[in-house]
């Protein structure tokens, strides 16, 4: 599940050169989708135009699929021109609230497929839907951050826990990736960043698939919403 942040009347970050985050992340999302689809992943995007679904609508799209990974894309308005850094975030919540079974499953097999922490009742509180998936989100974010740090010099080696609003209600491993910054010299630089980002994200997710498993999905059906 790829989530290009913002959209519609919500421009997101705005660069001095007039670039808008909502447009940049949509370009990045399409590049990432192509990369994933080339490798046989099924991809769903929360938006594929200049619309602005609410946080809840985006989460609802993600929560409609099993075994999905939610990747949200952002570009910041701060940062140094010409020095692209990337930051991976996972939602932060008290670890103690994660069930012992979830923690044990994550400890024994920290791969994505090993963690299926939906309670026996099958019901999750919408506002806290991400909580059971914190460990798997953390794993995905760390693996991805490590790979991005090699690609984008100056990026941190480990991911960051933070209360990112859009991740809270996603009942799946969920991360947000922010590229700093939207201020790039020209459109070629932007496309180069997007291409590097897409290939690195795709390779990292591919590497996390348990050996011999079917291709993981980024949603249940091909194509965009």
């Amino acid at each position: 599940m790829i989530n290009p942040a913002h959209g519609g009347t919500d421009d997101g970050a705005r660069a001095d050169n007039g670039l808008l985050e909502k447009n940049v992340v949509l370009i990045f999302a399409r590049m990432l989708r192509s990369e994933f689809e080339r490798q046989g992943f099924r991809v769903v995007m929360t938006r594929n135009d200049d619309s602005n679904p609410s946080y809840e609508d985006r989460a609802a799209v993600a929560n409609a699929y099993r075994d999905a990974i939610f990747i949200s894309l952002h570009v910041s308005s701060t940062g140094q021109l010409g020095a692209t850094r990337t930051y991976c975030y996972q939602f932060s919540s008290p670890v103690a609230i994660v069930s012992a079974a979830t923690a044990a499953a994550a400890a024994n097999a920290p791969g994505i497929a090993a963690t299926n922490p939906v309670p026996a009742s099958g019901l999750l509180v919408w506002e806290e839907a991400q909580r059971p998936y914190l460990e798997s989100s953390h794993h995905v974010a760390d693996v991805l951050q490590s790979a991005l740090a090699q690609k984008f010099a100056g990026s941190p080696a480990t991911s960051t826990r933070f209360a990112v609003r859009e991740l809270r209600s996603v009942a799946a491993p969920a991360i947000a990736v922010e590229v700093s910054s939207v201020s790039v010299a020209d459109s070629n630089s932007l496309l180069a960043i997007g291409a590097s980002l897409a290939s690195t994200v795709e390779r990292s997710i591919q590497a996390m698939r348990p050996p011999g498993s079917l291709p993981a999905s980024l949603g249940g059906t091909a194509g965009a919403k």
Partner: protein, 213 residues
């Protein structure tokens, strides 16, 4: 020139002259109103600005957390007169966080943001109520919002005893997010203050990165 045309031109000239005079008056009036609005805004800020001085103030080494590079915050020690009362002390350090930033590059909160209120409930919940500018003028982005929240949380936990968790309000209201990214619907944990020598330099995901509960 026919007489009728002369009369028409005369009337038109008078009308244009009256229009110009009216426009000039209107322009002056608009300028006056905007000046009045500006001074009203300034007066409102002065009124809302927390009182720095309290009867129990003592000069102490306070640690205020500002940006130290593109993606981290770090404490700056400065001597401030701080109250013995925790709520007043919280107001004082957050006011310093906004007003005393050592340059724009180190600022984590918008210069126009104002702390409208600060309270500490008996259970240790610190409530910081900021003006709308905090939400509208914080640069959009996860990192910048994280640094904003982090700087508030770390500054409080380093200087205010008894604060266990933080709730951020905007103009007295709970809001969904700070500027589109940071979830403000919950509480941010505040760790007890640590000895000065052991204070780590803050990085993304520090105290401010602690979660809504």
């Amino acid at each position: 020139m026919p007489r009728n045309l002369k009369i028409t031109l005369g009337i038109l000239s008078v009308a244009v002259l009256i229009g110009l005079i009216s426009l000039h008056g209107l322009h002056q009036r608009i300028e006056h109103l905007s000046q009045e609005q500006g001074s009203e805004e300034q007066e409102r800020r002065e009124l809302l600005k927390p009182s720095i001085a309290t009867s129990t103030d003592a000069i102490v080494n306070a640690k205020i957390f500002w940006a130290a590079g593109a993606d981290r915050i770090a404490p700056v020690e400065m001597q401030l007169p701080l109250s013995a009362d925790s709520a007043q002390r919280g107001r004082q350090v957050l006011d310093a966080l906004i007003a005393d930033a050592p340059g724009d590059a180190r600022r984590t909160l918008p210069a126009d943001a104002t702390l409208l209120g600060f309270y500490i409930l008996p259970d240790g919940t610190a409530i910081a109520d900021f003006s709308e500018a905090l939400a509208s003028e914080t640069p959009s982005g996860i990192l910048s919002e994280e640094m904003a929240v982090d700087s508030i949380a770390r500054t409080l936990e380093s200087n205010v005893a008894g604060a266990r968790r933080l709730k951020i309000l905007i103009h007295g209201q709970e809001v969904d997010s700070l500027a589109g990214h940071a979830d403000l619907t919950g509480f941010f944990d505040l760790s007890p203050a640590v000895p000065a020598a052991a204070t780590p330099s803050a990085a993304p995901g520090g105290a401010g990165g602690k979660p809504p509960q």
